[in-house]
Subunit: 490 residues, 2 copies
């Protein structure tokens, strides 16, 4: 039997007893059970779905102390962050409960018959949306609550009427088990089948690949690295029946700081940016990995303030030893590729020090590998000699979850052009603040062109996340009994 | 220089002079020109977009006689159908002009700031949608107007603010050239750049592959065979930066006829269905290729009426000699796979005769190749012994543009179950009439799970077709000048 060993993130020591990895048969059984539960769940009322989501939120909150303690051992993210993340997770479970009740995502387009021949005349049509089927949900390492077992993907899939099989992340095995225990209790208490939400565990990629290939699975949802997401997407595409695969991957999240605002508030912005780069040891998909500055004294002064602000950040262990090694490798690669280090100190075996470097826009555009995300507290200043070169830098980045633009308060040709180029490559464009911190709200868009996500037309955070699991269907000349169901599938 | 030769569809003879195939440099130039035009077009007003779309509609109508005559030579679809299709094409160009003006697709979600920390508090957000960029549009053979050079994909992409490079179909080369000539005149008359809509021609796959691989291209749209669409989608996925590829492919469009309705109106329905199978020589993506019947006398009588009704259909040349050969090969494969022929007559070199066969549900479920579309006037009766077996047949089909269900006027457990299974696999579910004929209207959904389309969450017909080319973007703390633009990108 294969086993999995959890590690203490702060020391790398073994944590708790080894756990059995799911066997292939267990993966199949979870997928089959999710399909068996799907018919009833897809036809369940909004009240039933909302009650489950709220029950899960309360169960998380009810076990807060134990969960946060476990999560802290396995991730080293600290109790403040983890309590906040648990709050957010409960908040989004309840928000999707509200959305299920409000029913906007299920509202149908009523398109009454028009007499006469085509193209003007047409039969009575309605357009509604039906849940896709069982969703394979791949947990993230860096959000052990909010993008993990009961995270946004699970919440939005359940609200849409899909059942879920969760692939737990091996970075927080015991936490995942404890949350899954709560799920099973809530399902039982509400008289819902255990198979509605399944969970599997595995160390390598075999368990996840088997899950995404399973014929019962109708969609995949993933938060993690570009490499891992791309591999699973390829599996989803290679199925005899390809399925949608929603991968929220990595990105470099350029921050463009124009000289005017740096002259006015450079020191304050340097402190803010340093905090964002080092936040949670840079282990956010929205961590600002590229800072675009125009040549000039305001930018020079800004860098002079940024270096000590970063140096002053407290050390923070990374999520796993593998990530710690990958960070060092990423930094070493950057240095070999010709960047000039501005801040480069040795860290400990678990906690790296922030890394800051600088390169010309020309070099950045010429060298593709400089545009790859280094997961952790690393950022690369790109020096541009003109606004036109700033646009070229954005084009070279190509796809990002966010672009931040400081200094565009006043309309100008330059501001308009940068905004246009930013919206062409990013899912979210910020005009103040820092990209870390993704609000769970109506207008959120967390997902952008490749390599930041596999399905840039969708979002994994915010109200529209539910849309990923609902497919439009037109009913033509539908009988009265069916239309009375008001968009609820049979 | 490579050349392309058009053929008369009715005789297979050469039609007109050979035309030069586009060179690789010409493909690149068209893509580059579409990108150069994109900035201005994406920022153009609704009035400008509507004027172009209406100008193109009028240009088609103004050249109706010449266009229909050319199309008839190259496709053999006949003047009645072709005039109707031209009407439809002009109708949908004008409909997307109206939609661009109405602006619903660009309406933004306003999500004002909420004070306080997360998860409840959040900054001011708006969610809007921006055009993707230049679209590679692959014309279909079977709709020389409505899904070709100025078809629905081109119309919806232009309305969304995207520029377009058209890959003309080699089945109607001269028609494509003539329509492209009209486009160039309209662009010039309206003072718009020639590169806004480009066109390339090629016989094999090389020209299309080069187009979809070109870095300037931001999305693909395709109507055609599953094989061709899958190959181009693989190219789109294999790019250094993958792009959305909207392929509307083939499907078998099951028609389920329950015994009750067949007992009451079997003869009438047989005549209707025969017309749909043979319509346009079965060369519709919604042609009913599978007829699911329950064992019993009503079904037997229905078949007895269907055979002569099909026999009475007039011969009709296929679009190209290659399609004619593929039809014979498909029929031969079915016969080898063990179906029982009910109608199988020799046709001419150009025009096949309708083919009808029968197989048990068990065999149909067991043999995957029986579920592949045979493009042309062919249909396979699948005999089920129970309602449960009907559901299994739908599950085996897996994905289809349409499912038609006759006899579900009254609510019953059986009807609900079939509807549920039908909505799980189809984009459109009909309760009366036949699947051929796809209304261009608000609630249309033309696209379903694999193999019927590559992006089942989207539609290639109807108002929502525009959504394929608009990507959501959230603006956080956007300055006042930008919000004043009301969802129009910069």
């Amino acid at each position: 039997m294969k086993t999995l060993q959890s590690l203490k993130a702060r020391t790398g020591e073994a944590f708790g007893a080894p756990l059995p990895a799911s066997t292939g048969e267990q993966v199949d059984a979870a997928a089959t059970a999710a399909l068996a539960s799907f018919g009833d769940w897809s036809a369940s009322s909004a009240a039933v779905r909302a009650a489950l989501l709220r029950g899960l939120a309360s169960a998380l909150e009810g076990d807060r102390e134990g969960l946060v303690a476990l999560a802290d051992e396995e991730t080293a993210l600290g109790p403040v962050r983890l309590n906040g993340e648990l709050d957010r997770t409960a908040f989004q479970l309840r928000r999707f409960a509200d959305l299920a009740e409000r029913g906007d995502a299920f509202k149908f387009t009523d398109d009454p018959a028009v007499a006469g021949g085509p193209p003007v005349g047409h039969p009575a049509m309605v357009r509604l949306r039906v849940p896709l089927g069982p969703v394979a949900m791949f947990s993230a390492s860096n959000f052990p609550f909010a993008f993990s077992v009961l995270g946004g993907d699970t919440a939005s899939a359940l609200a849409a009427g899909c059942t879920v099989v969760i692939k737990a992340h091996s970075g927080h095995l015991h936490l995942s088990n404890r949350v899954f225990g709560l799920i099973q209790q809530v399902l039982q208490a509400q008289g819902l089948p255990a198979g509605l939400i399944g969970m599997i565990q595995g160390g390598g990629s075999d368990v996840g690949v088997r899950l995404v290939r399973h014929p019962a699975i109708a969609a995949g949802a993933f938060t993690g690295s570009t490499r891992g997401g791309a591999a699973l997407q390829a599996e989803a595409n290679a199925r005899p029946r390809p399925i949608p695969f929603y991968g929220e991957l990595g990105s470099v999240n350029p921050v463009i700081a124009l000289p005017g605002v740096l002259a006015a508030r450079g020191a304050e912005l340097a402190a803010t940016l340093a905090g964002s780069i080092a936040l949670g040891c840079g282990q956010f998909c929205t961590s600002p990995g590229v800072i675009v500055l125009m040549d000039g004294p305001a930018s020079d002064n800004f860098i002079d303030a940024l270096v000590p602000a970063l140096t002053a950040q407290k050390p923070h262990a990374m999520l796993t030893p593998a990530m710690r090694q990958a960070f060092d490798a990423g930094v070493a690669h950057m240095l070999k590729t010709g960047v000039t280090a501005l801040l480069h100190e040795d860290g400990t075996a678990e906690a790296p020090r922030p890394f800051l470097a600088q390169v010309s826009a020309e070099e950045f555009i010429a060298k593709e590998s400089l545009r790859e995300e280094v997961f952790g507290p690393s950022s690369l200043i790109v020096r541009a000699t003109s606004a036109a070169q700033v646009l070229q830098v954005l084009q070279a980045v190509g796809g990002s979850l966010t672009v931040t633009l400081w200094g565009a308060e006043t309309e100008s040709d330059e501001a308009r052009l940068i905004v246009r180029h930013a919206t062409q490559i990013a899912g979210r464009v910020l005009f103040a603040g820092v990209p870390t911190g993704v609000a769970v709200t109506a207008a959120q868009q967390h997902g952008g062109p490749w390599p930041s996500s596999t399905q840039p037309m969708t979002t994994s955070v915010g109200d529209a996340a539910m849309d990923r699991f609902l497919r439009p269907v037109a009913l033509q000349d539908a009988p009265a009994w069916l239309l009375k169901r008001q968009g609820q599938p049979c």
